[in-house]
């Protein structure tokens, strides 16, 4: 067993510097790497390029980095829940690259899987395809999209072990699984770091080879963005 365990978030973020490109898992606030984000805020690492499907809300998730103007550029598919984001974007302080969600996921997966680029039909004929190579396959048009290149990927899982194996819960898997192994260094934070051997190899979502550092996360808030319920009978 190759041991990936580090003791805490400080150790996990060793080597993160100003100006780097970071991937951050999560969809909305679901499955975001809360501990890594808090540490980036604490260390005031700035001029960051962040690849994340969303940009958090004003006072949580990546919104915390936006508040302190630590982000130079965001690469996302949907950023509608964050007023500070909208303000910084419309004023030109923040550079934004909006990418179709499936393309964003595949750009992660391509980096993970060693593909330099891929063709997708998404965005053909729209401004997303401006300046990009297009090509026809069997009568349909496609856009060439390059894989992401990132320095660190920060992901959050439900359970993990020191070998770096990960299991996600519910829809918190989202981009987390695709970002593992898609950056030079993948850092996983988990709700439960269990002894090696406890996770059933049949049920591992991400094998440890895609993870370089893993640590037991703390104080998860797991905030719900839209609480929708039925009335009890």
């Amino acid at each position: 067993m190759i041991n990936k365990k580090v003791n805490n978030v400080e150790e996990a973020l060793k080597g993160v510097e100003n100006g780097m490109t970071l991937m951050l898992g999560g969809f909305g606030l679901c499955g975001i790497p809360e501990n890594a984000i808090a540490e980036l805020v604490k260390r005031n690492i700035n001029e960051l390029t962040c690849i994340s499907n969303n940009a958090g809300v004003d006072d949580f998730g990546l919104g915390l980095l936006l508040q302190k103007k630590q982000i130079k550029k965001m690469i996302s598919s949907y950023v509608g829940e964050n007023q500070e984001f909208e303000r910084q974007m419309l004023s030109g302080e923040l550079e934004v690259e909006l990418t179709p969600q499936g393309t964003l996921a595949e750009k992660c997966r391509a980096a993970q899987a060693g593909f330099p680029a891929f063709y997708t039909p998404a965005g053909f004929g729209t401004e997303v395809a401006d300046g990009k190579e297009t090509r026809e396959f069997e009568g349909k048009m496609y856009v060439l999209e390059p894989a992401f290149k990132a320095d660190f990927a920060f992901v959050k899982a439900w359970k993990g072990d020191a070998a770096g194996n990960l299991i996600f819960k519910g829809t918190a898997r989202n981009f987390n699984a695709n970002m593992c192994g898609a950056a030079k260094i993948t850092v996983a934070e988990v709700e439960e770091l269990v002894p090696v051997g406890e996770l059933d190899p049949n049920n591992i979502h991400i094998p440890g080879i895609f993870v370089q550092r893993i640590f037991q996360g703390t104080n998860y808030e797991k905030r719900i963005e839209q609480r929708t319920v039925r009335k009890n009978q």
């Binding site: 909305g28 606030l29 969600q101 393309t103 829809t171 905030r223 009978q233």
Partner: protein
């Protein structure tokens, strides 16, 4: 009488057939799930990574880890599955999802759709809409026929930045059901009590009216 959002959703629900995997967009499309016939088997996919979506949870049973693409807390039904985002869009891009229902700000008679950006005013992003419209075989758009100022959103050509080109097959509005083909909107059905003339007046694009146009049934 023009339809409200619930009736638009109810009319669209009739397009959902037995054995379909269906992706519902945010807004009116989400309501469609409430009206699908109970005697057919349908599974709802949400692009954030769930197939077999159920209703909202009972109070106290909501789980931050189980949400839909609108970030709402949901439940799952027996037979449901969770997956990562790339797998989710493999289902969509790979045409495994049979029907996509989504909202729009504008549609045009050649099947273009615009629903993600108003330059200088609103930039929320396209989310999964561009992937959905580029790949789905069967796309139904749920929308209001006109904007708040009464201007048509059923156009010769879209004025807003496009989400996809030549992809919309059917549009259900508060006034009509339209089929998009041959570079025109074919009027299929009228909302109850709405005349062909009213629909014509609310449609900027080319409207083709062939024979007697029936009223919608629900």
């Amino acid at each position: 009488m023009a339809l409200d959002k619930n009736l638009i959703a109810k009319r669209i629900a009739k397009e959902v057939k037995n054995g379909y995997y269906v992706n519902l967009g945010i807004g009116i499309p989400t309501l469609v799930a409430n009206y699908v016939r109970e005697d057919i088997e349908v599974e709802f996919q949400s692009e954030n990574g769930v197939l077999g979506m159920g209703p909202f949870p009972f109070e106290g049973e909501e789980d931050a880890d189980i949400i839909n693409a609108g970030k709402q807390t949901i439940t799952t039904l027996p037979g449901a599955s969770f997956f990562d985002s790339a797998t989710s869009f493999s289902m969509i891009r790979g045409k495994h999802v049979h029907l996509t229902i989504l909202g729009a700000m504008e549609v045009s008679q050649n099947g273009d759709i615009a629903n993600w950006k108003i330059p200088g005013k609103m930039v929320k992003g396209m989310g999964g809409a561009m992937d959905l419209v580029a790949s789905a075989e069967n796309i139904i758009v749920a929308m209001m026929h006109t904007n708040k100022e009464g201007e048509s959103k059923i156009l010769k050509q879209c004025t807003l930045p496009l989400t996809g080109v030549g992809c919309v097959k059917k549009v259900v509005t508060n006034l009509a059901v339209l089929e998009v083909k041959n570079n025109a909107f074919y009027l299929l059905e009228r909302a109850p009590g709405v005349s062909v003339e009213e629909i014509q007046n609310a449609t900027e694009g080319t409207l083709i009216v062939e024979g007697e146009i029936p009223e919608m049934s629900f």
